[in-house]
């Protein structure tokens, strides 16, 4: 018991420092300082090690079990996006690859564990992420306006210019601070950050400008920078993708009879899930070369168009087919050039290139688990409304942008430079938020049991907590 007391005392003593480190790490990652994601991944890993005692103290056995099951797909994703045929043949380097494995797990764990730190306020973390990312986006926006003027993607649509003897379409690019210099980058890449920031505006549905004018102003500025970064280009597709996000936010805020609506949404979700699941199965079997499926699709003009020959499915098929070959099972080697350059625009399929079939199945499983976890978080968590709405909106925005507009080769002048979603800063931020919003698929987290909160907050009750709570892990 002495050890336990000492641990509680230690936790109480250093929690402010740990919170500072976590927020610092998140802010640096969100700002992508020096484009040094490898450093932030290792930093996140080190901080997550420090957070282990907190997690041990404030997590029940049942939660650990649930978390373990929840994390299985993420562990597979982490290892296969870190070490695979793809990453080895791309020559990313062992340190970089290892950082992906550790960083992926660490940022998720950071979110999960930091919630156990009593003094931690997610408001501050979200504001730090928002402010850092807003600064990054703002710098790019200002320089972009300086070089192109506003609305250049519309005003000069289809027009080209020459650089280094090569031809480029001006409406497809904007400026972005990468490392310590500005580069020309695809508008879809920038719009992912813009969309993430725009979701801050959803918090304004809960924050009163009269009672909390300062918070209102800061959140509004962060959100507007994000929105303006999309509007002033303008990136119409990204704007369209914001509509469902804001509709969700409005519904979440103003629909009163949530339980009734929740049931409808639940049925609709399961119906959609069923259709999507069947469609995905057909696509996979088609690419796996199952002859009767392949023949059935090829023999019907409509199905052939739907599953084979449209502009969305062609690159998806180009990516999925090689994953069933021996060489592409654990990600694509550099010789699988057709699959590698196929632009699916979706991180769910891009992972096939990087990690192969198992990683693909793992990401699908992880997405499903995250959806269920978030649904529980949304319904059960005692977090304030503006927190929940920002987290949920942000995750939806990243999901939509990442699934439809992700650009694997966003650098305009170095068009062969591969940008992995799973090595990007938004991915780490998202993992942190998923970890934070993680809710066991049954039961409540220990920290949200009222009596446990009291117990945890009072050192004097530590012995009682340790003796009486069967669910708490033995130290």
């Amino acid at each position: 018991m002495d050890l336990k007391k000492r641990l509680y005392a230690l936790v109480d003593k250093y929690d402010a420092l740990i919170i500072f480190l976590v927020i610092e790490c998140l802010a640096l990652t969100a700002f992508s300082l020096a484009d040094a994601n490898i450093i932030f991944r290792y930093l996140g890993f080190l901080i997550s090690l420090v957070l282990i005692p907190f997690a041990l103290m404030f997590t029940s056995k049942r939660e650990w079990l649930s978390l373990g099951l929840f994390s299985i797909p993420l562990v597979i994703i982490a290892f296969l996006t870190g070490f695979s045929t793809f990453t080895l043949s791309m020559g990313f380097g062992t340190l970089d690859n290892l950082s992906v494995v550790l960083g992926t797990l660490a940022f998720f764990f950071l979110g999960f564990a930091v919630r156990r730190v009593r003094k931690f306020k997610i408001d501050i973390a979200l504001l730090a992420i928002g402010a850092a990312m807003a600064l990054l986006v703002f710098l790019g926006l200002i320089y972009s306006l300086y070089q192109y003027g506003p609305f250049h993607a519309s005003l000069y649509e289809g027009l080209v210019y020459y650089y280094d003897g090569r031809l480029f379409v001006v409406s497809e690019e904007t400026k972005w601070l990468l490392g310590f210099s500005f580069v020309e980058i695809s508008i879809n890449y920038v719009s992912l950050f813009g969309a993430m920031l725009s979701t801050a505006l959803t918090a304004l549905l809960y924050i009163s400008p009269k009672t909390e004018p300062r918070k209102f102003a800061i959140v509004a500025v962060i959100g507007l920078i994000g929105l303006l970064s999309i509007v002033l280009i303008p990136n119409i597709e990204a704007l369209i993708l914001l509509i469902p996000v804001f509709l969700f936010a409005l519904g979440y805020r103003f629909i009163r009879s949530r339980e009734k609506v929740g049931i409808v949404v639940q049925y609709a979700f399961f119906a959609l899930l069923g259709i999507a699941g069947i469609a995905l199965l057909v696509v996979i079997l088609n690419n796996a070369g199952v002859s009767f499926i392949r023949n059935a699709l090829a023999g019907n003009a409509f199905l052939n168009r739907l599953f084979n020959t449209n502009r969305i499915m062609s690159p998806v098929n180009a990516v999925l087919a090689p994953m069933f070959t021996a060489g592409g099972f654990f990600g694509f080697p550099i010789t699988y050039i057709d699959g590698l350059v196929a632009n699916t625009g979706a991180f769910e399929f891009e992972i096939v290139k990087e990690g192969g079939l198992l990683a693909f199945l793992a990401i699908i499983a992880f997405l499903l688990l995250v959806i269920f976890s978030l649904a529980r978080y949304s319904a059960k968590s005692p977090d304030k409304g503006h927190i929940k709405i920002v987290i949920l909106s942000l995750l939806i925005a990243v999901f939509l942008n990442g699934s439809l507009l992700w650009d694997t080769f966003p650098l305009i002048y170095e068009s062969d430079y591969y940008f992995s979603f799973f090595r990007s800063a938004p991915y780490l931020i998202v993992l942190f938020l998923i970890g934070y919003a993680y809710y066991p698929l049954s039961g409540k987290p220990l920290i949200e049991e009222p009596e446990e909160i009291v117990l945890a907050s009072e050192t004097a009750n530590a012995d009682h907590l340790a003796n009486s709570d069967e669910e708490e892990i033995k130290l």
């Binding site: 300086y146 070089q147 192109y148 003027g149 020459y162 003897g165 031809l167």
Partner: protein
């Protein structure tokens, strides 16, 4: 505090509103000059200053076979003054054919001596095709050539030339006929312009490169013609300091009655002849 914020906001808006908009200063519809139709792909742009604010030619220099060089293959690089024809620090001549920008730097002649690698201010604009190091037609055909008629083009450099050693031009000829592998003799007039602030005019210095045998429809092969400024200008060599513009025009040397070099000429039976410029090189020059 509010004043500071307002000032910062004002500064930001001023910065944006007075933006240079460099990146949209020179835009083209679709694949400009790459339509696949010979008559549509002439580049005939003359900078207004080089049309309207030019003094009379200050000096004319004859570039002859004695004071110039002509390169068709690797071995020809030994015509260059030492050590210009050799890869840095070696006695190996540059490769004539290796001309992939960046990748072949240090090995291929074009990638090692192009203007963009000297100063990236040359990277922007259509004429960056002439500065990118692709000195020949190797599959990048339409991406690297600039097609001109006799009236040529005139352009300002993005900076002023401070130091210079020699000039080189990678070029071939083309017409619309089905004939292949022949030479056309051409006189190229190369003019450098130095801005004179006292008279507010560009002062031209003309280099007449006479009777150059231009490979025409020759499996897209090019020849590099060039000269050393000191070899041609002698004691005048410093006159080109601060040169800020250049133009190229040409005429045919000899009896070519069936040819026209005027893009507007619609005379029946006349064959249009054009020069395909691939690279303008000023190796070892410095710019300010």
């Amino acid at each position: 505090m509010r004043k500071k914020a307002a000032f910062a906001l004002l500064f930001t808006f001023a910065f944006v509103l007075t933006g240079c908009m460099n990146d949209v200063a020179e835009l083209y519809e679709g694949h400009a000059y790459d339509t696949g139709v010979f008559s549509e792909n002439y580049y005939s742009t003359w900078n207004d200053s080089l049309k309207n604010s030019v003094a009379t030619v200050a000096k004319t220099y004859d570039v002859t076979s004695i004071n110039s060089f002509q390169i068709d293959k690797d071995e020809d690089f030994n015509q260059l003054w030492e050590p210009d024809g050799y890869r840095s620090g070696t006695t190996e001549p540059y490769s004539f054919l290796r001309d992939t920008p960046h990748e072949d730097a240090g090995y291929g002649y074009g990638p090692s001596n192009n203007l963009i690698s000297i100063d990236d201010a040359f990277a922007r604009g259509f004429l960056s095709r002439l500065y990118d190091g692709r000195i020949q037609c190797d599959g990048y055909y339409a991406k690297s050539r600039v097609q001109i008629d006799g009236a040529g083009y005139g352009a300002l450099f993005p900076k002023e030339m401070v130091n210079y050693r020699y000039f080189a031009l990678s070029v071939r000829g083309a017409d619309m006929s089905v004939n292949n592998n022949f030479f056309v003799n051409v006189n190229i007039n190369l003019t450098f312009y130095v801005y004179n602030h006292d008279i507010a005019l560009y002062v031209p210095y003309l280099f007449q490169m006479k009777n150059l045998p231009i490979k025409t429809n020759y499996n897209s092969q090019v020849t590099i013609f060039g000269f050393y400024f000191a070899g041609v200008m002698g004691a005048d060599v410093n006159l080109l300091k601060r040169a800020s513009g250049m133009s190229i025009t040409f005429s045919l040397e000899g009896d070519y009655e069936d040819y026209t070099i005027d893009r507007e000429d619609t005379t029946e039976g006349k064959e249009h002849f054009a020069l395909m410029l691939y690279e303008v090189l000023l190796p070892k020059s410095t710019w300010n």
